[in-house]
């Protein structure tokens, strides 16, 4: 009987920010359209290394699993990319998985991305399509005419629109 196809994965592990890093190698059963997240889940299901040593499931972040959110970004074969869209069949084996190097490490593949989110907040890197203010289309209004606009029936939308135009 032919031996079933195996996937060799090497993961850089670190128990905490102050611990030392080490590499663990896993041999997993190949599955059709397998991606790196499936590899990590398979390891969690049976956390045993290639040489039969019992270990812990790998800590990692993931969310949408459809290449949108970026939560599962990690270094795969030395390149920063999302684990959910990294297909095993298109990767060179053994697959080397490391945490992203530019962020403070939490554990294994989990990193603290807080400073990136703070930067996004600082540059307001989003489109305001939802929020607590009325975003309905209102007339943009110069402050010179603002008082008049507030007195008129369109007061609220006009003021809101002006507030947004100023931002």
């Amino acid at each position: 009987m032919a031996e079933s196809k195996q996937v060799i994965v090497k993961v850089k592990r670190q128990a905490g920010p102050k611990e030392s890093a080490l590499w663990e190698e896993f041999s997993l059963k190949w599955r059709p359209s397998m991606n790196v997240i499936i590899c990590l889940r398979d390891i969690a299901e049976n956390p045993v290394t290639r040489d039969g040593k019992k270990t812990t499931p790998i800590s990692y972040d993931s969310n949408c699993l459809e290449e949108i959110c970026g939560s599962c970004a990690m270094l795969i074969n030395g390149r920063a990319r999302m684990a959910c869209s990294a297909l095993v069949d298109k990767l060179e084996q053994p697959i080397r998985i490391e945490p992203m190097s530019k962020f403070p490490l939490v554990r294994d593949l989990t990193v603290d991305r807080q400073f990136m989110f703070e930067s996004l907040k600082r540059v307001k890197a989003w489109i305001p399509i939802d929020g607590h203010t009325i975003l309905a289309k209102g007339r943009a209004c110069h402050p010179k005419f603002r008082k008049k606009a507030i007195r008129s029936r369109t007061a609220l939308p006009a003021e809101t629109a002006w507030r947004f135009a100023r931002k």
């Binding site: 956390p47 812990t56 800590s59 554990r107």
Partner: protein, 108 residues
């Protein structure tokens, strides 16, 4: 019965083991805690579906392939009472839009 199977899982959950017992960033513990509530929700969904003898939207029963507005145009509400699911029903407001069959095989 499907509910019995989930009840077995609920019993087994009481003896759950952790493959990771470390104290820092333990995602296994996190998941194990979530799992208990997932099993409860699975029972709610299963019991609601078992009671609903019709087909509606994504809920499909081969024995009852048609939508049954006479008996089942109502919202299921579930309550967790002494480790079991208690189902009650709430009428749907149809005062503004009259119910009509959803046809995906014919053009509007």
């Amino acid at each position: 019965m499907a509910d019995g199977k989930i009840r077995t899982l609920q019993e087994r959950y009481k003896k759950i083991n952790l493959s990771d017992r470390t104290k820092w960033s333990n995602q296994t513990l996190n998941f194990a805690r979530e799992l208990e509530n997932m099993i409860v929700l699975a029972r709610v969904i299963t019991r609601g579906a078992l009671a609903r003898n019709e087909s509606r939207g994504a809920h499909y029963k081969p024995d009852f392939p048609d939508r049954d507005d006479a008996n089942w145009l109502k919202t299921t509400r579930a309550k967790w009472v002494s480790n079991d699911v208690q189902l009650t029903y709430e009428p749907v407001d149809i005062s503004l839009i009259k119910p009509r069959p959803r046809r995906y095989d014919a053009a509007k």
